[in-house]
């Protein structure tokens, strides 16, 4: 997963529900020095909380991406994020 264009990650999940896996694995995909390059806000909900999990990303070009982690698996999420990151990569290459 291309993470170098992400500037902010906001996520909230209830670990006792199955869809939280997507958010948790996404957090595990971020590199070891991620906290120095981006802002990460994580909220762990209590066990009986009915709130759905969500993930919000901000990119360097200002684009915000709200992802529905209740439906998306980690592979789908990776695809979504990489689609935008690749365009940013291309832009950076053309600017040289």
């Amino acid at each position: 997963m291309i993470t170098k264009h992400i500037t902010e990650v906001t996520t909230r999940f209830n670990p006792f529900k199955k869809p939280s896996k997507t958010c948790r694995v996404f957090l595990a995909y971020l590199p070891a020095n991620a906290r120095t390059t981006m802002k990460i806000n994580t909220t762990v909900l209590p066990r009986d909380s009915p709130e759905p999990s969500f993930l919000k990303l901000k990119f360097k070009d200002g684009k915000e991406m709200q992802l529905d982690t209740e439906k998306l698996k980690i592979n789908d999420l990776e695809e979504e994020v990489d689609r935008h990151s690749r365009t940013l990569n291309r832009k950076a290459d053309l600017e040289g």
């Binding site: 670990p15 006792f16 948790r24 070891a32 762990v44």
Partner: protein
Amino acid sequence: MITRHSYYNTYTWLSSPSHRTSASGAMAPILPICSRCLHHLHNKPTTFTTYRTLSTASAITPAPPIHQTTTSVPPIARFPPTQPPSHKPPEYRKTQLHRQYTSLLRSAPLLLLFQHNNLKATEWMAIRRELHSALLATDESLNTSYASHIKFQAIQAGIFESALLVAEHYDPSSNNNASTPHPTDPSTSSSAQIPNHLPSPQDPTLTHSLSHHAYTTAHPHKKTHPLRPLLSGPLATLSFPTLSPPHIRTTLSILSPKAPTFPAPLRRTNPGYWDATTQGGLQKLLLLGARVEGRVFDMERIRWVGGLEGMEGLRGELVGILGSVGMGVTGALEGVGRGLWMTVEGRRGMLEEEEKGKGGE
């Protein structure tokens, strides 16, 4: 026999000179044997030696022990007792991890589950160091020694899940159908192959947690365990040898501080905690939940357990409650007497006043 031979030899050696001297004269006997020996040879029963040997043998062989006459001795096991056949090959790392996790789950009353997101080795080291020093301080204040037994280790989620099921749903003592064959049973001859001595993992009499029986007993509960959603991704456990709220409070104030009950250590008193490496590691640790004496707790419930006062605090509270009850009882009992006294005093006062009034008139 030996003595007789030696006697015979001696005799022949002694008689030989006479034999040589008489060789020129009269005919000497070809085989000179003394009369006593000849007598023995003629009159000795032929089965004498055999008979003696037999009698000696029957005297030496002991009678079989009593228990062997009621139950037969099973054939010799074909595996060492410490290495019974397992469901998975024992030489694999995952098998040994399974053993380790089962033992951990059975022995530790409290397990905290954390997610660790790409922690570096130095960050792990810093966190463990800070945790250990804080727990040592708690130990000193409480006069206990748990700090060295509180372990923070990364685990493999899949194997941990399987071990959890075995630890919770499989009781080795419930499976006691080991074979005790009766001696009259023809299948218990020494050449018979009794099932629990065949090196097969499917054998129902093998009761260890890696056995096939343990697997089939625990496996149906796989989908229903409440801790199951937590067991994915990078996980770490913090295991406690005992349920001690002051130690939990110390741990939470280090690993996931929250201001009023679990404050982080001060920068002035504990600069190592505010080190960039430690803080970098702590940001990547997420407290997910806990397993407390077989029950599943979330973060808030764990904070509640950590907020408890422990045995000392509870004792103080109990003394307070009992003291207040005693005061109340004393008050209630006193109240009746005091009421009576007040009435009698009041009545006396009234009578005195009446007498005074009468005297005045």
